[in-house]
């Protein structure tokens, strides 16, 4: 397969994640969308490295770092969601509108 095919796959995955972020009410569902977008980026890293003959280990290490950071991000995000749930009795993103003008 070609590089373009993988890039299109990643783009599709990213767009689906974006849709989830934009359309869903549930904070956890939004978090799911973010994770999808992160994985799309990971696919891009590996694909570029695979086809463009760059530094072999570099992309893998970047992907590992992204996965690690995503784990940290998910832990914090879920903690915040739990806290918000306790405060608002809801995890609907529309309920968090305290910053409106």
């Amino acid at each position: 397969m070609t590089l373009e095919a993988y890039l299109l796959l990643a783009l599709l995955l990213f767009s689906m994640g974006l849709y989830a972020v934009l359309a869903r009410h549930n904070l956890i569902a939004i978090l799911i969308g973010v994770e999808l977008m992160l994985n799309a980026a990971n696919i891009n890293f590996l694909a570029f490295n695979y086809f463009l003959h760059l530094d072999p280990a570099m992309a893998q290490i970047i992907v590992l770092f992204v996965i690690g950071l995503a784990a940290a991000e998910a832990a914090i995000a879920l903690a915040i969601i739990l806290k918000l749930y306790r405060k608002h009795q809801s995890i609907d993103v529309d309920a968090m509108r305290e910053l409106r003008g």
């Binding site: 397969m1 070609t2 373009e4 993988y6 783009l11 599709l12 995955l13 767009s15 689906m16 974006l18 849709y19 934009l22 359309a23 009410h25 549930n26 956890i28 569902a29 978090l31 799911i32 994770e35 999808l36 994985n39 990971n42 696919i43 590996l46 694909a47 490295n49 695979y50 086809f51 463009l52 003959h53 072999p56 280990a57 570099m58 992309a59 893998q60 290490i61 992907v63 590992l64 770092f65 690690g68 950071l69 995503a70 784990a71 940290a72 991000e73 998910a74 832990a75 914090i76 879920l78 903690a79 915040i80 969601i81 739990l82 806290k83 306790r86 405060k87 009795q89 995890i91 609907d92």
Partner: protein, 176 residues
């Protein structure tokens, strides 16, 4: 069509579709897990078994499970999807435009890509050596970030000690 590409492709798309459309949040998390297994397959096809294993271990084994926990702790009931259609179609429009624009760029761009790399070049040894040598600082920083994230998560969700006279905290107690 190449099975090493089409199979992960199908799994990713089906999983992601489930993840973004199911209104039951548990189903969505399962969809995410399926999609991530597909991503791991794509990693494998891109010649990196190590990251594929890590993907499954951390994402499917770690993050997805944590999400399920969170869903269960927040007594699941997903919010009613109000005002559904307009919101969804607008989101789909934006995402679709983004997809279209991106595809156009990708199709028209010339990346100068040649044959793919021989997979022998990226051994796990090379990754391990680089991780602890060239990227040692980043690696150690990441471990620190993870530690802080864990501690931070605990601090954030920790319940404030409830004073007996304090009536405001009572609803929170019921909620848990």
């Amino acid at each position: 069509m190449n099975i090493a590409f089409t199979l992960p492709f199908a799994v990713i798309v089906i999983g992601a579709f489930l993840a973004v459309t199911r209104s039951n949040i548990l189903h969505a998390v399962f969809g995410l897990a399926i999609s991530l297994v597909g991503v791991a397959g794509a990693f494998l096809a891109l010649g990196s078994p190590f990251t594929a294993v890590m993907e499954v271990l951390i994402y499917v084994g770690g993050i997805a499970v944590t999400m399920i926990f969170a869903v269960m702790l927040s007594s699941v009931s997903s919010p009613a999807e109000r005002g559904g259609f307009l919101r969804k179609s607008l989101a789909a429009l934006v995402a679709g435009l983004f997809l279209a624009g991106g595809s156009l760029i990708i199709v028209n761009a010339d990346f100068g890509a040649g044959n793919h790399l021989s997979t022998d070049a990226w051994s796990i040894q090379a990754v391990g050596r680089d991780l602890l040598d060239r990227f040692n600082l980043a690696f150690e920083s990441l471990s620190l970030v993870l530690l802080l994230a864990i501690v931070g998560a605990i601090v954030i969700v920790r319940r404030e000690p409830v004073l007996p006279a304090d009536q405001d905290d009572a609803p929170e107690e019921e909620a848990a």
